[in-house]
Subunit: 184 residues, 4 copies
């Protein structure tokens, strides 16, 4: 079973990249999964513009990311919270992905995570980010996890510092993976 | 009283640009308002990236749009609906605007419109688009208007074809303007 | 496979009861499913009050409905839209159900429908109604269907008048049932 | 200027009643306002049922609460979070209020608060609770405040224990009151 991991942020030092990579490490430790990380910085897309689309079609980067998604059995995504909701940069990627004739996201199981420097752990973004995915037919897992105070959450190895937090993530991953297993 | 109009879309032929320009025409016809249209295509911004911000600050286009907003007493914005929610391109503009030290949007009254080729008139986008504005302290007017079947809604002069629809927009504009007038 | 059908309304002549019963008829016609309708009017519950709960526990009607849900492999629910969101009456039932020690809803697959006399078919309610179910661990199917102009949608046999609408419902039911089948 | 305060909960010992009463105390301390508290327990309403409405109209308790609202220049409401969203009991009150011929809520300025025993302070409820009010034409103030760990937030006088929290509430009240003052 192939799982694709990515974060809804571009910054190299993004705490959402750290969080989703930590989830990837825990999944790899379980064994039996083929895990891959996609960095959205490697798939640059302009803000969606129908005139660009009419002139030159869906960007090649969109199609490449679409292929990765198509090849995956499940997705695990960590999203920042910008202004109480989904980051424009992540929504823009979804908007472009939705323009492919056959939408790669449709029907995929997705586990949503969020990391945020604030106390609320990106909870408002989690609930907003579900919507465009669900509109595209993604099966977003009902359980989610927001990581608060994310700038202080990782040690020098980029592992989660707090045992309790790591266990919470592990448990959620276990639930998600055992839910999707029968379909693999 | 100065009112700034813009659409959350880039495409030159965007039905949201048409809709917000029609709102502008109706406001200008009332008289007593200084109306200005901003085309987001003239304010190109890359997808938000904390590394870009750290290297070169908020884009100049963001600051220019911020100045326009700061100078306005009220905003009227028409937003497309992409995948059941706010377009990434509009959210990205809001995300960049929120990075200015003094956020131009804060405290502004805003009337939200939406136009969509579908039957629902972008209603899901309207409700999602409120949120980041409200998080930034914008007073989003409770009344909103979604224009369904927007590809067939305008005549060759780019006026709304249907009398009833034009009246609905006129009434909403009157309510919004009379609500904000005492503060002007 | 057992499927429980109910509507988020009390009124005897509710168009949501009609819509969910029509869904039930189509499912029964397919064959191979054990379909049951629950009328919320038969499960009266007071507005949630922690003092009532402390004095006399979760109402017996809640526990009876909880048993029905527990016994079902999947749920199909049609929800009205009151004031742009989930009806208080339906949310109140969910709130009481959530107070059982073992929450019957958790882990169940759910297909959400909505019927509304308006033009938008209850789409705002659909998206709000997902949330409390998902918070409780329900797997709400990403596809949903809102029925607009619902007071004129049914013939004297209480079947959907329009062929196209009936086909839309049939297709959604087929998708939902084939999605959950592997887990049955 | 008259301000009506209420909580979206029935329980006598509700932390939302405490929170909104603390807001009321701070407003009264400012002076110049006529503050009144309404306890929803004094306005019992059955879950909304169109058959009840057809048989006996809107409940008298709804009309009495509607009168209180109509007489107020502004509302301050504290809402619990049940299952990640608006409590059914509060939504039901709004649903009944919306059935009066002239809806008392329309056009009123409203400040929303929330108190919750959890770490997130009811933030998901705050954003869901805005919607039905806004659909009814209420001007919900963009600033809101969620009080986390609310079971430990009050001292024996039922004042907020933490100075910082009290200041946050005071500041928000000042902003809200100075925003609505020009219209009084």
């Amino acid at each position: 079973m192939k799982i694709l991991f990515f974060a809804g942020a571009l910054r190299a030092d993004s705490c959402n990249k750290k969080f989703v990579r930590e989830a990837m490490r825990l999944v790899e430790t379980k064994g039996g999964y083929q895990a891959e990380f996609a960095d959205l910085k490697d798939y640059p897309m302009p803000p969606y513009d129908g005139d660009i689309e009419a002139a030159s079609g869906v960007p090649e980067t969109t199609m490449k990311l679409g292929e990765k998604i198509r090849a995956a059995d499940a997705l695990i995504v960590s999203t920042p919270e910008y202004n109480g909701s989904i980051p424009g940069v992540l929504k823009n990627v979804i908007d472009w992905l939705s323009r492919e004739k056959s939408v790669s996201l449709t029907g995929k199981p997705l586990l949503l995570l969020a990391a945020s420097p604030g106390a609320l752990g990106g909870v408002r973004s989690l609930w907003h980010t579900r919507v465009p995915f669900e509109v595209l037919g993604v099966h977003v897992f009902p359980g989610m996890m927001g990581l608060p105070n994310a700038y202080n959450a990782f040690d020098e190895k980029l592992h989660l510092k707090e045992e309790k937090t790591a266990q919470q993530l592990q448990k959620l991953l276990d639930q998600f993976l055992s839910h999707i297993a029968p379909k693999a």
